[in-house]
């Protein structure tokens, strides 16, 4: 019995690592095909994104929405729900914070910032609660509803910034600047890094405590692992699902808040460049571990922020980075399938 148990403890950390390394190796092949030196390319990429001051600030900026949305996907996944709606929830969160940043004036930052964040959280939470309600009460598959709600959110924000929210006389669709008191401070002067990353790390801590130490986390995990046993033991599976989807939406909403309040200071048509979808990969790669989400979102953020420098200095197209991201997901899916099969083999006696 012991060897099996030990193997189980090691694997969650081992296989994402193998997946990332394999993806980088295959990515190296692609770089070779593109006629460049993979070692030089990777060096440029990670040196820029992790060891230069501005580059690292950039990495932290990109890590913020990835981490928050990744946490949202992770929380939902714990209850067995696939939240593909991170993207839409980011848009709604951005909208919520923008509204508070624009229309609430004359507050000290100490009050204005929390209210704006809360609004972002609540807007995202509502966007998560809709599919949660439909799943729990009506039995509608959450994969479809969360996915479709993305388009509604994106187009809704697009409509708003082109019409009622558009800054008068602006050359392209965007809103006016939000109040200074609702802006997040820069934490690395001279770079883009803003306090959103601190918010994201605090959120990671809260989620870690919630899932690992609180009765609610136990309840969520029980529903995810065995809804029949959960119902038998008196847990309301429906309420748990609604709660968890609202929480997931709220976390992704905070990602939108951080983009508006820390980076752009206004609402643009393009709030997120696919962070909601990268978050899916991040959550799956992390296999239910909060620490895993932190590390993986740092990795994905580094890839994103170093990509341009790699293109400039090593002559490798940015698209190689997208290929590496895709390969990572592919390899983690393979390792999951492989594990499942070996588990089946070990249970069949």
């Amino acid at each position: 019995m012991n060897p099996i148990v030990e193997e189980k403890i090691k694997l969650p950390f081992l296989s994402p690592l193998i997946a990332i390394v394999s993806a980088l190796l295959v990515g190296a092949g692609l770089i070779l095909l593109a006629g460049a030196n993979p070692i030089a390319a990777y060096t440029a990429l990670f040196q820029e994104s992790l060891s230069t001051y501005f580059g690292f600030g950039n990495t932290l900026t990109k890590m913020t929405p990835l981490l928050l949305t990744g946490l949202g996907v992770l929380v939902a996944l714990r209850a067995g729900q696939f939240n593909i709606g991170g993207e839409g929830q980011i848009y709604l969160g951005a909208l919520g914070s923008t509204l508070v940043g624009l229309y609430v004036q004359g507050l000290p930052a100490l009050i204005h910032v929390p209210i704006a964040l809360l609004a972002g959280f609540l807007f995202g939470a509502v966007w998560g609660l809709i599919p949660g309600y439909l799943k729990a009460v009506r039995g509608v598959n959450e994969v479809i509803t969360t996915l479709l709600l993305n388009y509604i959110a994106i187009n809704f924000v697009s409509y708003l910034v082109q019409n009622p929210l558009q800054q008068p006389g602006a050359p392209s669709p965007y809103s006016p600047l939000i109040a200074k008191s609702a802006q997040l401070p820069i934490i690395l002067p001279g770079s883009l890094a803003h306090a959103g990353i601190l918010l994201a790390l605090i959120a990671a801590g809260v989620v870690w405590v919630l899932l690992g130490r609180s009765p609610l986390g136990y309840q969520i995990t029980t529903v995810g692992l065995n809804p029949i046993a959960a119902r038998y033991s008196g847990i309301s599976v429906e309420r748990t699902i609604m709660l968890v989807m609202a929480l997931a939406g709220g976390l992704a909403g905070l990602a939108g808040s951080a983009e508006v309040m820390g980076l752009k200071y206004r609402l643009f048509e393009q709030v997120s460049s696919g962070y909601g979808f990268d978050a899916l990969a991040i959550a799956f790669l992390s296999r239910g571990s909060v620490l895993g989400v932190v590390l993986t979102s740092l990795f994905f953020a580094a890839l994103r922020s170093g990509a341009n420098v790699m293109q400039r200095s090593a002559g490798v197209p940015v698209t190689v980075v997208y290929a590496i991201q895709g390969l990572t997901v592919l390899f983690i899916a393979m390792s999951l399938a492989w594990e499942q099969r070996s588990e089946e083999r070990s249970t069949v006696k």
Partner: protein, 487 residues
């Protein structure tokens, strides 16, 4: 000439002998019943005939030719068609599509022609079904006819039906019996597996009774009675338990005119009324699927009651040992300690000031492991690594914690070895002695007999009778279980 002859078929699973030296022969055009309790070896035998598993010893003859049935495909080639209790149909496809699935090797689908073939086939045997209907929209009885058509379309001469009436309503059962008689008259040979005596007597020509993997009798139905068959089916030395004299106290549970529906919305429990006192065990005997599951769920307040009342003394907590410990009773990926708090994780001492208390959860598990003799390396071992007996002890430890006044135990010894079975029994008897009222539901007749102070026999959702545990005989209960009436 016999159609099917088995010679000394033996099958072992480890040290367990599922089939021991089974010989039987069946004439063409005969309807032959295989009768036996749960675990008597019926399913193993049928799996051997239909090629799913291989016997360790023995020979199978079809029309006096020795055959080796190495796979289900081979069985189909030999003209053997199995109709499972749980249908193997694709609900989204039509009747025709289901029937031709897997055997249609033509390049062109030509559904219309196949529909005509199937319509002709169904008319020839009185198997009324619309070939163009979607299977998912058909009632269960019609789906079963599709299953029968499926094996007939594959030119089966020997039809094996595994407890075909378990899922049917009474009118559907009557029409099935007519259909099977017609098929036999047309020369097909039928093996009918059941534990319902009246159906066996009504439908079948001959009957083989299995008990503990052996043939205990082979006879014709005209030469026997349902009472004799019941005796043959269950007859054995009875289980003895050390039980103190019953001292029933106040009424803990009172059930009046209870009606509960199953997943399909049909009444699974009908007009059940009884009272249960503290310090008393009410055994519920019955063949699997006669409403026991729905009754247990209703008593544990996990299922909505359609009619009637369940009154609990002082709204006591119900300790509920569910039938399926792996699917319902436990979260397999959780540790022993985590499973033990499943119903109390929000309460002190496991949760204080909004946080789970690791130490309290661990020490609770250590105490429970000691008290209930749960054998594992530690309280943080996942329950999926435990044996069935130890898993059940985890469920017991959780459900009996806090000394509930009412305990509902559903098949609590299923799949357990002798030692673990004994542990479960003595645990429950100790609870009874301290004053708990227990509803003990089992399909193992000897267990119910040994455990119970009173025995309710459940048949088709009703309590057909409630007998005194001291005076009831095995034969009496066995007969009632199989739908027979007392003279």
């Amino acid at each position: 000439m016999t159609y099917l002859r088995l010679e000394k078929i033996t099958k072992r699973f480890g040290s367990f002998v599922a089939n021991n030296n089974i010989s039987l022969s069946i004439e063409p055009g005969e309807v032959h019943a295989i009768l036996g309790e749960n675990g008597a070896g019926k399913t193993t035998l049928m799996n051997i005939i239909s090629g799913l598993i291989q016997p360790d010893a023995g020979e199978i003859y079809i029309q006096e030719n020795l055959v080796k049935i190495t796979s289900p495909n081979e069985a189909i080639k030999l003209g053997i068609g199995m109709i499972h209790q749980h249908f193997m149909l694709v609900p989204q496809l039509t009747v025709t599509e289901n029937i031709i699935l897997g055997i249609d090797k033509d390049w062109r689908l030509n559904l219309r022609q196949k529909q005509q073939e199937i319509a002709a086939l169904s008319q020839a045997y009185g198997l009324e079904v619309d070939p163009t209907a979607k299977v998912g929209n058909l009632p269960v009885g019609a789906q079963q006819r599709v299953e029968i058509l499926k094996v007939l379309y594959r030119k089966a001469h020997l039809l094996i039906l595994d407890e075909p009436t378990a899922v049917l309503t009474p009118p559907e059962v009557r029409s099935l019996i007519v259909i099977l008689r017609q098929l036999a008259a047309a020369g097909r040979t039928i093996i009918f597996i059941s534990h319902k005596l009246d159906e066996v007597i009504n439908l079948c020509d001959t009957v083989t009774v299995l008990r503990r993997g052996e043939v205990v009798a082979s006879t014709t139905t005209v030469n026997t009675t349902s009472r004799q068959l019941a005796e043959l089916m269950v007859g054995r030395e009875s289980l003895q338990l050390h039980k103190s004299l019953v001292k029933p106290g106040e009424i803990v549970l009172s059930v009046q005119g209870l009606e509960v529906a199953d997943e399909r919305g049909l009444a699974a429990v009908r007009n059940v009324s009884f009272q249960l006192r503290s310090g008393e065990i009410l055994g519920v005997a019955g063949v699997d699927g006669n409403g026991q599951r729905e009754l247990a769920d209703a008593l544990a307040r996990l299922r909505i009651i359609k009619q009637g009342k369940i009154e609990l003394h002082r709204n006591t907590r119900v300790g509920y040992i569910p039938e399926d410990r792996q699917k319902m009773g436990l979260v397999l990926q959780y540790s022993i300690a985590q499973n033990l708090i499943l119903k109390a994780f929000k309460k002190v001492p496991f949760c204080r000031r909004f946080f789970l208390q690791k130490d309290a959860i661990a020490s609770n598990a250590k105490v429970a492991m000691q008290e209930f003799d749960i054998r594992a390396m530690g309280e943080d071992v996942k329950v999926s690594y435990l044996s069935g007996g130890n898993q059940q002890k985890v469920v017991l430890a959780r459900e009996l914690a806090g000394e509930p006044l009412l305990i509902v135990a559903m098949q609590p010894t299923r799949g357990l070895d002798v030692g673990a079975t004994e542990a479960v029994h003595s645990r429950l008897l100790a609870q009874r002695d301290r004053g708990a009222a227990i509803v003990y539901i089992s399909t193992e007749l000897d267990e119910v007999m040994a455990m119970s102070d009173r025995i309710a026999v459940m048949y088709e959702g009703e309590f057909v009778d409630i007998l005194d545990g001291l005076t009831a005989t095995l034969e009496e209960v066995g007969l009632l279980m199989a739908g027979g009436r007392r003279e």
